[in-house]
């Protein structure tokens, strides 16, 4: 358990000691604010709805950007051999890295606090959807990070990890979209609708916090973290 904390702290420090983190944060905030305020005053609604409907698409780039380095760099530099010969289990290392990435994402999300503050200053938004939206964003973001970590463990090239995570996240996001569902054989529709990352986010974003949606995200996170663990362990049985 102790090693999870040690890896967590190391990873978190390395996020903030690299200029990439600040560039990513600035780019994220800049793009989000721009896209939000571009239509906010035209729509003339004191709601954060447009912000939360943007998030799944913006996170598509933010999540993989956060995690692409996590394992790819360790593999490329060979430090994975130092790390995995410490008395630590693969799953502890995976969990340490995931928690650090998750906290980093949460901090970035906290930096958007001026959006709800602005909206509350101007009008009277319903607080339910805002709180739900942030909770949903954390869960959705966590899923992206778990997928991104897994992708990063498959390669030693950060760019490959980045693209691969985007593709995986994108695939899992769009299989639940109506546009895709219309074109699927009817037997697959309920499965794909359930598996899609987006629909659950919209439910929570309406302020309806359903345990099933939360469980869905937690399962996605655990599934990909487990795949990540297997990918690390595969060096032992792959020949």
């Amino acid at each position: 358990m102790n090693s999870i904390g040690v890896i967590f702290r190391k990873e978190l420090r390395s996020y903030f000691s690299s200029p990439v983190a600040y560039i990513v944060i600035l780019a994220f905030l800049g793009i989000t604010y721009w896209l939000f305020f571009r239509t906010f005053f035209l729509a003339n609604q004191s709601s954060l709805r447009p912000f939360f409907s943007l998030l799944p698409w913006i996170f598509l780039f933010l999540g993989p950007a956060i995690t692409m380095r996590a394992w790819a760099e360790e593999r490329k530099m060979g430090t994975i051999e130092v790390l995995m010969t410490f008395p630590v289990l693969e799953r502890e290392a995976v969990l340490g890295k995931f928690l650090a990435a998750f906290l980093f994402l949460s901090i970035v999300l906290c930096l958007t606090i001026s959006l709800p503050l602005t909206v509350m200053f101007i009008g009277y938004p319903d607080p339910g959807p805002i709180l739900g939206g942030y909770l949903g964003a954390c869960l959705l973001g966590g899923s992206y990070l778990a997928i991104g970590l897994f992708a990063s463990s498959l390669t030693e090239n950060q760019i490959v990890a980045f693209i691969l995570s985007i593709v995986l996240c994108f695939a899992l996001l769009v299989i639940g979209e109506d546009f895709v569902l219309f074109n699927l054989p009817s037997a697959l529709v309920p499965i794909c609708a359930y598996l899609g990352l987006g629909a659950h986010f919209e439910n929570i974003g309406r302020g309806v916090i359903d345990l099933r949606d939360i469980l869905y995200y937690l399962s996605i996170i655990f599934f990909f973290l487990f795949l990540n663990q297997l990918a690390l362990e595969s060096r032992k049985w792959r020949s």
């Binding site: 890896i7 530099m77 994975i80 410490f86 060096r235």
Partner: protein, 312 residues
């Protein structure tokens, strides 16, 4: 301390390590010697629990690598090949991370870090970032990381690769010093290094152990006998008649003559007491002995001999 029996490891069709067995006693310094690709790193990775063996058993400090991997790792300090480091960290930060991973309580970390910084001569660089360190200091940092928890066993894969001669000597002295209190396994393809630092040497080639012993024993093994240099002051014909008659001398060669002092190079059989017997012969014949030296064939010759013998 380390007990390896019949381990093998393949990567696809390549047999990296084939059925090797060896043991390392407590306090011993063992060197793996072999050309690149001989299976040294693979063997070391199996010892450090980074890779499991396909077959065979590794026992370290009484534990089995397959079942008690985590427990074994606590007893081992490891410097992998090419000394991988987190380049975005500082020296002390990295050692603090290693100390944390080794579950050193936070109150003792400061002390543990100071101890290895001192020991590995890192003090002038302690405040630096790793990417600002020279290669020699990076290597010291890698060693410091491996020593942070004061392990009973130290495993070093190519610890002096890429260092300049001055740094190599520094690193070797450090290893020899550490070897006095710890069990050390190191690998190298540089022969004098192994001869200078190790109590015992395993020569590997094509995934197999092709020779083992102390550096001296290996010399004897390669030559299939021993070579002795002797300088005698006496009549040349007399010396040669006597030498021909000695049963344990297989061949001799007159090397030089200086002021009546004749130097010979003798090829003798494996008899342990050859030197004494030659001395006896000198005394019996009333000659005067000016020098008697057992020539050790250097490891390069052994190495080339053993590794080419394997190939043919």
């Amino acid at each position: 301390m380390i007990d390896v029996s019949h381990i093998s490891k393949s990567y696809g069709d390549t047999h990296a390590v084939q059925d090797i067995s060896f043991g390392v006693k407590k306090g011993e310094v063992l060197g793996f010697l072999g050309p690149n690709g001989a299976g040294k790193s693979t063997t070391i990775r199996m010892l450090t629990c980074f890779l499991p063996a396909d077959s065979g058993e590794v026992r370290i400090a009484g534990y089995n690598v397959a079942n008690d991997s985590i427990e074994i790792r606590r007893h081992i300090g490891y410097l992998p090949e090419n000394n991988p480091l987190y380049m975005d960290m500082g020296v002390v930060e990295y050692l603090d991370f290693a100390a944390g991973m080794r579950s050193i309580p936070s109150r003792q970390r400061r002390g543990a870090i100071n101890r290895v910084v001192e020991r590995c001569g890192l003090a002038p660089m302690a405040a630096r970032n790793i990417n600002a360190l020279s290669k020699g200091y990076r290597q010291r940092l890698g060693l410091a990381q491996a020593l942070i928890h004061n392990p009973a066993i130290l495993i070093l894969d190519e610890p002096t690769i890429g260092l300049d001669p001055h740094q190599i000597i520094g690193m070797r002295n450090l290893i020899r010093e550490i070897g006095q209190e710890k069990t050390v396994v190191l690998s190298s393809h540089i022969l004098p290094e192994v001869a200078a630092t190790c109590d015992r040497v395993l020569i590997m080639n094509n995934g197999q152990i092709v020779g083992s012993g102390t550096p001296e024993e290996l010399s004897a093994m390669a030559s299939g006998g021993q070579e002795i240099l002797v300088s005698i002051r006496a009549d040349q014909n007399h010396i040669e008649t006597v030498l021909k008659a000695l049963p344990f001398i297989t061949a001799f060669e007159h090397v030089s003559e200086h002021d009546g002092l004749h130097s010979y190079s003798l090829q003798a059989n494996d008899d342990e007491e050859v030197s004494e017997r030659i001395f006896d012969a000198v005394v019996q014949n009333g000659w005067r002995l000016a020098g008697l030296q057992r020539k050790t064939i250097n490891l390069e010759e052994v190495f080339v001999d053993l590794t080419t013998r394997e190939a043919t």
